[in-house]
């Protein structure tokens, strides 16, 4: 028994190493003064400084934040309302499948579909088309998370609020929303994270030129000339940012399972 658990333990750590060693190496190299991936020449934060000094990188970082923030707000609002609507209907597995689909469809398929659709409509591409595309898949994620919260929702509190004289809107603002808030927040954080590091769909639906280049697109463009230490630094920042958000979203989301 003890032996078996030791082996399982070793296996666990191996898997963790397999998953995180490359990332740790990348993080380490972002602080390597010489910048060469082959030799450690001392600790330095110079590469982070040169990131901030590059107007192209700063502007694409700003673009990414705009896309993530706007698409998160829209997707969270729409996804939450969608979840409320779906949960009040009769259970339908066909409807559920359609709602889950955008989470499972390969990004490349969604990207091509969206691009064709925009072209068909004669839509000008730019930051707004990326935002719209991110809203598409983010709605599905937000909806799924909010729905888990709603599974334990006692709808009689909504009726109680109306019975006490509240309008539908007041009931939503003062009763429903505060009660599902942890789910909404967790959904929003996940949506933001997904949007920040999304590449394929953004790449397909971006407009020409610098004005709609996002950070992942910028990294992709830079990497064609080899992995530079700046890229390591940028990847580290993006990674830590996403990691924090996901962790926070899980933290908040935990309330989703245990209920109020």
């Amino acid at each position: 028994m003890r032996n078996a658990s030791r082996w399982l333990n070793a296996h666990l750590w191996l898997v963790y190493a397999f998953l995180y060693l490359p990332i740790l190496v990348l993080m380490g190299l972002s602080f390597n003064r010489g910048g060469m991936p082959t030799a450690w020449t001392g600790f330095s934060t110079a590469w982070y400084g040169s990131l901030a000094a590059s107007p192209q990188i700063v502007s694409s970082a700003v673009n990414t934040l705009i896309v993530a923030a706007v698409s998160t707000v829209i997707a969270t609002a729409l996804g939450t309302l969608l979840a409320l609507g779906v949960e009040r209907r009769r259970q339908s597995s066909a409807l559920d499948a359609l709602l889950f689909a955008p989470m499972i469809i390969p990004d490349i398929v969604l990207a091509i579909a969206l691009l064709s659709f925009y072209t068909l409509l004669g839509f000008t591409l730019g930051l707004h088309s990326i935002i719209l595309s991110h809203v598409v898949f983010n709605i599905a994620f937000v909806c799924a998370i909010v729905r888990t919260r709603l599974k334990h929702f006692d709808y009689s509190v909504v009726e109680a609020s109306i019975d006490l004289g509240a309008s539908d809107f007041t009931t939503f603002r003062r009763v429903t929303l505060p009660m599902i808030w942890p789910g909404v927040l967790a959904g929003a954080m996940l949506a933001f994270t997904l949007s920040v590091d999304e590449f394929i769909i953004a790449f397909f639906t971006a407009g020409p030129g610098e004005s709609s280049t996002t950070l992942p697109m910028r990294i992709y463009a830079m990497i064609r000339f080899g992995v530079t230490p700046e890229i390591n630094a940028m990847a580290t920042i993006v990674m830590l940012f996403s990691f924090t958000l996901v962790l926070a979203s899980q933290r908040i989301g935990r309330g989703v399972v245990t209920g109020p």
Partner: protein, 355 residues
């Protein structure tokens, strides 16, 4: 106030698909009365309550409040409040905020909200828990918060959906009287939905027994218990003994026991039954001179602490006749299973039922 009913239903029906939940019900609620809607599950009493509250719109009929037609008025516009069976407290608010919520919706000045909230918390003995959240309260306390939240609105009619169902048995008994005391104190009209006949009898001034979407009988507790209009009413409220037969001049003709007498009339020749309550059955070892009843054999004696239920098997009766005698009664210890016994009743204590 006018002498008319506070609230009234006029031939109200509500259908869900093919099911008729409420079927042509008319009902008057008098000012300040404690009214109970009693019935088995699925009889339509909850739907009726939701029609009164404004959560269901009747397909036919009218809902009147103080003589005004409010059929189309939504729940948030009616001066009627509902206490939910699940209590439906707002889990993210304190007790005080829960209670104040309804007053805030009326946009009252904050000083008045504070005063009235304080008063009602005092009345329901919740002042010390005002800053707790619902999940930090016991079941009984939660029930009082739900009550306070509805009472503070001073509704014309307060509706209570199975208000005591979630409490344990002992607490339920206390709360029955507590609810009645509160109702008396605030002087509001209460309508309680319950499936528990004892609860309805103890608490209400008047009650309506429902069956299959219709009202089987309306009246005072004593009236429904002593003068049930049908076998359903007699069977649902309290324990009843039935003697089957056919209507005959002066009573009921039975094959096994001859002519039995009781209150009421039956069409001669038509199937009918006499209902007698267990406590109205008088037992005798020797046939009394003028016994209106039947001879049987004691099958079983059930001891209930304060009284005994004697189950007497009688020829021609499907179910044993139940006779109740006080445990303190001298006769109580005399009876033994297997003993022959006469079960008699005074004609005015029996009730002749035709349906």
């Amino acid at each position: 106030m006018s002498a008319g009913p506070v609230m009234a239903l006029e031939r109200v029906s509500r259908r869900f698909g093919r099911v008729t939940a409420v079927d042509g019900v008319s009902l008057d609620l008098a000012e300040g009365e404690f009214f109970a809607l009693l019935g088995p599950s699925g009889c339509g009493k909850t739907t009726l309550l939701r029609i009164l509250a404004g959560f269901e719109t009747p397909d036919e009929g009218r809902v009147m409040l103080d003589g005004r037609d409010i059929t189309g008025l939504r729940a948030n516009r009616r001066p009627v409040n509902l206490m939910f069976q699940s209590y439906a407290l707002f889990p993210h608010m304190t007790v005080r905020a829960n209670v104040a919520y309804g007053l805030e919706m009326e946009r009252l000045p904050s000083a008045e909200i504070e005063r009235r909230t304080g008063e009602i918390l005092e009345l329901t003995e919740l002042t010390e828990m005002a800053n707790r959240r619902p999940d930090q309260l016991s079941g009984g306390q939660r029930q009082r918060v739900a009550l306070a939240r509805a009472l503070v609105k001073r509704p014309r009619v307060l509706l209570l959906d199975e208000p005591l169902a979630a409490l344990d048995r002992k607490l339920r008994g206390q709360m029955q009287l507590e609810l009645k005391r509160l109702q008396h104190e605030v002087g509001l009209t209460f309508v309680v939905v319950t499936h528990d006949q004892e609860e309805a009898l103890v608490m209400s001034d008047r009650l309506a027994l429902m069956e299959g979407g219709r009202i089987a009988q309306t009246g005072g507790p004593r009236e429904l218990y002593e003068k049930p209009a049908s076998r359903f009413v007699a069977g649902f409220i309290g324990v009843s003994n039935f003697f089957e037969g056919r209507g005959a001049p002066g009573g009921l003709a039975t094959a096994a026991h001859g002519l039995l007498r009781a209150n009421g009339e039956a069409v001669p020749g038509r199937a009918a039954a006499i209902m007698v309550r267990p406590e109205r059955i008088v037992l005798a070892a020797e046939k009394p001179a003028d016994c209106n009843g039947a001879l049987g054999e004691i099958a079983d004696i059930a001891y209930h602490g304060n009284d005994l239920n004697l189950h007497v098997a009688i020829a021609g009766a499907e179910r044993a006749v139940i006779a109740r005698i006080g445990a303190a009664d001298d006769a109580a210890s005399r009876w033994r299973p297997g003993q022959k016994v006469w079960c008699c009743w005074r004609p005015e204590h029996g009730r002749l039922l035709t349906e």
